[in-house]
Amino acid sequence: MIVQIKGKPEFIQIQWVPRYTTMERVVHWFHTATFTLLAITGMMLFFPFLQPLAQGQAGITFRLIHRVAAVIFGLVPIIYLIIQPRRFLMHIKEFLPKKEDIGWLKAVPAYYLMGKHEAMPPQGRFNAGEKLNGLITIIAWLVFGITGLPMWFGKGVIPPELFRWLVIFHDLAMIVSVSMFLVHFYLAVAHPLMWGALVNMRFGVTSVEYLAEHHTKWFYGPKRAMEIWEAKKRESVH
């Protein structure tokens, strides 16, 4: 992608496009680190076959790590909201599902398993899968907070029946978010089509080629992205 400077023998080549701000990346990596710690220490307490590892001093240490990580995990989005409220709210708006996301869901097997590019409708700055991951992360964050704080501070104070329900919802949120995390991790780190995803989040920029292939709607705009997709579909038929 090249832009000419009029009247000069000079051209500007656009190779990298800023996709994530420094703040977005800091929030993402803090979230990843604390979530990983929470998931590991949480599973030690959740799975009966791992519980022997969490006895005695080890159990005290795991619980302490779980709580310290939980505080950071809980505070990071709040700090983000305070520092950049407009950007934070923009994310929530971006993650909300739209009717067109059904097209992404339908195309998942053909695109991710068979590599059929023409099956995937044009995607925005976040594709529908990234949006789903973002939405589940926010919901899980809320559920972890609502259930985790009373579990931490209310043991022996709140009724046992209510405590039991809190534990169940805390565990359910863990099961859903860990499953989502594993899919997200695989796609970002190992899936052959998503070659630029990890680079995007490490350096904040993404290549023009990656955007043109994976985030066509955000790159070319909705109208041209649809034209490109229609052309791709026609080509695949012939």
Binding site: I2, V3, I5, E10, F11, Q13, P18, V205, W218, Y220
Partner: protein, 128 residues
Amino acid sequence: MAKILLVDNDPGFVNSARQVLENKGYEVMTAASGEQALAVMRKEKPALVLLEIMMSYVLEGLDLLREMANDPTLKDIPVIVVTSLKGTKVKAAQPSEIYAAVDEWLQKPVSPDQLLERVEEMLKVKAA
């Protein structure tokens, strides 16, 4: 004083650039998208356009430049790109690789002095 159209969807940059330009006596108009910018240009005929490329989509500003180039009433309006897109200077390009042409390219962040200097320079060139 000259009319300047500021095309950017970042309210923070628009507010600060507008203040810098208005303090120097320029009449500043704003647009937050390529479509809005075209409408303002056709009505107001600005002397200069300051343009962000990345707006609601990455190439929106470049598409605006293409529209301007195809419109005889707009093609001579000078354009300074002021963008967050990272560009690298190269000395040669194949004609098929060239997406659009601009008068000047500035990479954000831009200091008020740098912005004013380029604006004044561009307006002088246009007047000459």
